[in-house]
Symmetry: C2
Subunit: 406 residues, 2 copies
């Protein structure tokens, strides 16, 4: 047998090479070094809530008496789907049927399924920037191009007028992605904004992929409008949901994709069948959330609102820091009086220390597709009030030193 000599060499795919690294990845070793030097590092960079997972969910771990941990249905268990249906009906005020809900492995899998089902390789998706940095991982995996539409801090990161979306439209645009309430900006969009965006999608045959995983986290009496509430929203709306933040259960990896478009549902279902089933233990304990009253969400939201107040009042008292009052989620994107926030973030971890402590922040550049956001950072306020106060004070002292070149 003769073997034809082959000149190809082993190489990973272009998309494998293009996969974006986490925006804070290069900072993490610096934080670790600071910790090893004995410096306390306050983490304003991580979205892992410190709120306890509800006992009515944790208790169910003790109730699992299965002898075999079997596959669940690819859609998710009926019990879990029914608990979600009730949640949408009673808590969100939205009527969906269980056959319109697909349980997913976190909101992450719902995003990937939605991207794959709504657009082909080489198609464009409109993303409001700054955006959740991991969207870029999923657009890369799905072979989609991000066309950014910029929201601006001076507008509280609310939507630009429809004309800006119209200008961003290309022949290959297939979907618009909106995270509401927004990670990273903390913006909660008004009904008018959502109606505008829905009209834009309707007029142009685009899907609206609404990432609503922070739905409950809204402050000052606001309510987050679900895209499932929209008029005409029947066939072009895909909602990405997750239990991670709602019940402070990020580690169980359980979410959902919700759509009233049967073709889209079916395409996602076939992807779900390919991967067999969503996590089973997670679904079993998730059903326990049915026992939570309204007071659970109210208490959690009150807690985050107090933190929001501490952070916001503290930050806007720092000379040169610009920030509109965050409306929801537990993030915000302040603009700092520095030329390059990444340099500042590195400096905080390598050269700064005050009373034995420093603070880790996420430069906002990684949340933009354009070259904007250079002076901005993203802050997650999932620390208790005392730690938040200490973090803000550290930022104040650090900025004073940094801007004076001390």
């Amino acid at each position: 047998m003769t073997t034809v000599h082959d000149t190809r060499t082993l190489s990973i795919s272009r998309r494998g090479l293009a996969m974006p690294a986490s925006p804070i990845r290069k900072l993490a070793p610096l934080a670790e070094l600071a910790r090893l030097r004995g410096t306390k590092v306050y983490h304003l960079n991580i979205g892992q809530p410190d709120i306890e997972t509800p006992a009515c969910m944790l208790d169910r771990l003790k109730q699992i008496d299965d002898k075999v941990l079997e596959y669940s249905p690819s859609t998710g268990t009926l019990a879990f789907l029914e608990s979600l249906r009730q949640y949408y009906a009673e808590r969100v005020g939205v009527s969906v049927e269980t056959r319109q809900i697909l349980a997913t492995t976190g909101g992450s899998e719902a995003i990937l399924f939605a991207f794959l089902a709504c657009a082909n390789e080489g198609d464009d998706v409109l993303l409001l920037e700054p955006f959740y940095a991991n969207y870029r991982a999923f657009t890369t995996m799905a072979g989609l191009n991000i066309v950014p539409v910029t929201s601006r801090g001076r507008d509280g990161f609310h939507l630009p007028p429809r004309s800006v979306f119209e200008q961003a439209l290309t022949p290959r645009t297939r979907a618009v992605v909106l995270c509401n309430p927004n990670n990273p900006t903390g913006t909660v969009y008004t009904r008018d904004e959502l109606e505008m965006l829905a009209g834009f999608c309707r007029d142009h045959g685009l899907f609206l992929i609404a990432d609503e995983v922070y739905r409950e986290f809204v402050y000052d009496g606001r309510r987050a409008i679900s895209a499932l509430e929209l008029r005409d929203g029947d066939d072009f709306v895909v909602v990405v949901d997750s239990l991670s933040k709602r019940y402070s259960a990020c580690g169980i990896r359980l979410g959902a994709l919700v759509t009233r478009n049967p073709e889209l549902y079916d395409a996602c279902l076939r992807m779900a069948q390919g991967r067999l089933s969503p996590p089973g233990l997670a679904q079993f304990i998730a059903v326990g959330a049915k026992d939570l009253g309204d007071d659970y969400t109210r208490d959690v939201v009150d807690e985050y609102q107090r933190r929001r107040d501490v952070l916001y009042e503290g930050l806007r008292a720092i000379p040169g820091v610009e920030l509109a009052r965050p409306e929801g989620a537990f993030y915000c994107v302040p603009k700092l009086p520095v030329r390059d926030a990444e340099d500042f973030a590195v400096w905080l971890l390598t050269e700064f220390e005050h009373d034995g402590a420093t603070v880790m922040i996420a430069p906002a550049r990684g949340f933009y597709a354009t070259d904007r956001g250079r002076s901005e950072i993203r802050i997650a306020y999932v620390l208790n009030e005392d730690d938040l106060r200490a973090s803000v004070e550290l930022l104040r002292v650090a900025l004073e030193r940094y801007t004076k070149g001390v």
Copy 2:
């Protein structure tokens, strides 16, 4: 503001439309109807093991005392990765470091990551057919073309000679996928076969994606050779692994991708960072598997080997059925004396009954990319011996009636 009229209409993506349905999907409602008629349906079509999940894993569910179910590291927890490293060292005889192991959401996610990282949209992958039907879901999601290389029942579904692989090679071939031990055929490949395939990959700059989720399930004193054992296997081998079958824990959705290629690992890690983390509860209980002795695997394998014997002896006593003795996994692909096994499978569920029972089988067509396999079925033997005996007897009676046109 004027809105340009847009002629595009809302439509799901080509790849969304192309997503394959499960090969048994259209049979499932027929089985349900049979059940409703009062007919007992023996399921030879499902790969869900009935063996109990080890108590040392289940018991850990009672030990979880976290107050917050937090994200785990994107790579998986150190404890879980270390337990896998030890497993590979002690049970597989393979030395890998924890930085070469990526915990995944089942073997399914490892396959998707491997496909995305090894090849670009439009590239070709060589798949030995018949193949695990869900590979087609992942090639569709990843935009890859399947180039089938056929294995034949008369050869016990062992590999064809290298010349057949050479002929199947295209300029866009990037990887070869081998499931060993094989689902659906039950074939366990010899060291010579693996060396041949490794040589083929090495000479042509191809990745070898080795799906080894049935590694333990080998009979008659065989041993499954891991692709990680191969000479020169350092940079082109990607192993897909899963705890689903090894510990009868399909529902926890926990697996791993293992590669000594740092670039490939890094690309997959960045995908893993995008989806944040693998299931956390699953990782916690999985560590319990460290307490299992060699006797656990031996007992389980003995059980499956007895079932294999019942099935094989029973099937080959049926006139016209062709089947080589299955060597591993818990599947086999017998050829039936029927023109179209799908018609026969439908007939079993709609027209056949014997002593109040019938049997559900998976037509093998869905496991082929060519039009082969029309007379073949896939059987999963995850039933106890009595039920298996009853199922085989039903098949015997049914084939007698069906082939006589009764």
